[in-house]
Amino acid sequence: MSGFLQNTFNGLVGGAFYALLALGLAVIFGMLRVVNFAHGAFYMLGAFGAYVLLAEAGVPFWAALVIMPLALGLLGMVLERAVIHRLTRLDPLYNFLLTFGLTLILQDLVKSRYGVQSSPYATPAELSGTVDFGLFDFPTYRVFILGFTVLLCVAVWWVLGRTRVGMVVRAATERPELTRAFGIDVGRWVTPVFGFGIALAGLAGVLAAPMRAVNPLMGADLIIVVFAVVVIGGLGSIFGSVAAGFGIGLIQAWGEAYLSDFPIVSQTVVFVVMAAVLLWRPAGLFGREEAPA
């Protein structure tokens, strides 16, 4: 029983990273109709940035948790203005080429300076140790990640669902042209929304630094699963991406724990789920068919 609870908890923590990354991809896709293949690279930059800040400038985890999302959000906004916004009028193939190219550039820039070896990042002292849940102990840092991510998702949900800004973003996401006809300058919202999505990826990266290997390829490994998560949740669906993120985290953790004798199954279960969902609901679990403009 305690083993099951522990696996479940681990699944939720893994799912928290998927949820943060998928959430950013969902708001970006919703507003820009751009699938950001560079999302994993920004996650990596978040983790690497935290590592560099600590190792070379002594900046602690808590400061990095604020600095990196802000800096990467800003970088995202600059990239959106410089190149990404040109994609809207082009064939979707360019979307893939540009954002995948960005991934390679960012990864290799980091590689050329720091190599491919993983760098250690110490868990902040305040969050070391374990929390006693009665039936099992759990690392304090992981409890923090889970709580922090859930709060963040609820906050994003609240802003999107209950504020004027959220209403405009929802309207512009659902029907950009109609929304312009109602006096809203949709274009003005695109850059900050892109920056926000990138900031979430950077934040996930900082959170990952103390518990995962920090190296230039850490994002590339993760992003494949995140895309499966986004497809399962429904491309562009905020709620779907978060729910599917946690769901896939759980399925993966259970798969690894109870199907470890069948590595082929445990490693592919996410994609089997994705294929099944696509056959059953082509728009994803919470996605809607594209509405006419």
Binding site: A171, T173, E174, L178, R180, A181, G183, I184, D185
Partner: protein
């Protein structure tokens, strides 16, 4: 209020509007009738600034808006009632109503909207696409009234409505007209059109084929209906 001069528009290679010129004076209700594909909706979309391939000029008030993007035209007082009613699935009824900023001198307060449309009030927290077709049409009209738009561009607001609702739409447009609101209306229902409008343009193959007044439309109703294929 609205002046269109030599407006041409294309969908790719196909020209859908050919040198259309027309004027609508302040407080007038003018309809565009024509067969499917005659270019009526394209004309409204061009006035709204939503049709990219176009040539000619569009003036609103005393201002040339040809180069203005759609959101700026809306802020000058253009209100669009799209042919698909434009209800947002991810917004509640209240949010659908309050999404556009107030733009005119006489925007309806939300309370007045709900007084005039009790059905919308009872469903105010539902997703707008959960409303019936008729209710969605009311929502689309109520939205531009709440905006306080000075020129309403209505694309077949009576399509698919019951006779009772058609009458209600007519009452609303007459009421708006009384308050100085100008309306350019795409309409296939000639009976409805002569009941609310001052003048009519017949659009055929992208051109203004005829300009008619109410008595002319009434006396030629049979011929026109046959032409429109209704």
């Amino acid at each position: 209020m609205l002046r269109i001069e030599n407006l041409s528009a294309w969908y790719g290679e196909a020209q859908v509007l050919r040198e259309v010129s027309l004027e609508v004076a302040t407080g007038e209700v003018v309809t565009l009738v024509g067969r499917n594909g005659a270019g009526k909706s394209t004309l409204l979309r061009s006035v709204m600034g939503l049709h990219p391939g176009q040539r000619g000029t569009v003036s609103f008030g005393d201002r040339d808006v040809t180069k203005l993007p759609a959101h700026k035209r809306a802020r000058l007082g253009l209100g669009w009632v799209p042919d698909d009613r434009g209800a947002y699935a991810t917004l509640t009824v209240t949010e659908n109503l309050t999404l556009p900023p107030r733009v005119g001198p006489d925007p309806w307060p939300l309370e007045r909207v709900y007084e005039a449309f009790p059905a919308l009030y009872t469903r105010r927290d539902s997703a707008a696409t959960m409303l019936s077709g008729g209710e969605q049409q009311m929502l689309a009209l109520a939205r531009v009234l709440r905006m306080g738009a000075r020129l309403l561009l209505c694309d077949e607001p009576t399509e698919g409505l019951s006779p009772l609702l058609v009458q209600q739409v007519g009452d609303l447009l007459r009421e708006a007209k009384k308050h100085g609101v100008t309306v350019l209306l795409v309409e296939q229902n000639l009976h409805f059109a002569t009941g609310v409008a001052d003048r009519h343009y017949l659009l055929a193959e992208g051109r203004i084929a005829e300009a008619m007044d109410n008595s002319e439309v009434r006396s030629r109703e049979r011929e026109l209906l046959a032409y429109l294929g209704i």
